[in-house]
């Protein structure tokens, strides 16, 4: 079956440090992945995406790495800020004629002052 999961449910880092959030997926045919951020009381917000023909993609303070060999995805956030505190989800779009997203369980990131 298809599944996208996260290694750690919670992560705490000091403000200014870098953080890494990990995600494992099981469908080797998956070719598109997205990271979402969900703040309290809000819906998931798109952060960054990556296609399977890439192994790295950078945005503003965020980098997504994809390792297709071990079916692993990670989100790196540089110089964390208090506003980065949220739950982060990885999601997989299987593109099997439909656009449904398959989400992982989520990792709660807490930035300590």
């Amino acid at each position: 079956g298809e599944s996208v999961g996260l290694h750690l449910p919670t992560l705490s880092v000091q403000e200014g440090d870098n953080s890494i959030i990990n995600c494992a997926y099981s469908n080797s045919a998956s070719d598109y992945f997205i990271w979402y951020k969900q703040e309290s009381g809000k819906g998931p917000q798109f952060i960054i995406d990556i296609r399977s023909n890439m192994d790295k993609r950078q945005g503003q303070r965020v980098t997504v790495l994809l390792n297709k060999t071990v079916k692993h995805l990670s989100l790196q956030i540089a110089a964390t800020q208090p506003g980065d505190s949220a739950v982060y989800f990885c999601a997989e779009n299987l593109n099997q004629g439909a656009q449904k997203l398959v989400f992982g369980q989520g990792t709660r990131l807490t930035i300590n002052p």
Binding site: Y36, G43, P44, D49, F89, A98, Q99, G104, Q105
Partner: protein, 115 residues
Amino acid sequence: EAGVTQFPSHSVIEKGQTVTLRCDPISGHDNLYWYRRVMGKEIKFLLHFVKESKQDESGMPNNRFLAERTGGTYSTLKVQPAELEDSGVYFCASSLGTSQTDTQYFGPGTRLTVL
């Protein structure tokens, strides 16, 4: 530009009652999705509309759930009769196109509590 909006933000009902959730997508977005997150579990896909047509309803849990999108604008999700296990947060999302890389923009969700 307004984002995806959902109403109500919270709903508390008793088992056996009916609840209707509403989603207004971003203007011009033909694609509308429903997802839900039940306690302690991941966000799961329910269904996908393209305009007023159901493109994929493979995630709908059972026939107590009915989604509509008459006119291809806003959508409603009705749960009748509600059961305890229906409690959770129901998210709506919309996207402009149907390509794999078309971003799905999520609303704030409706928190449903069934007592």
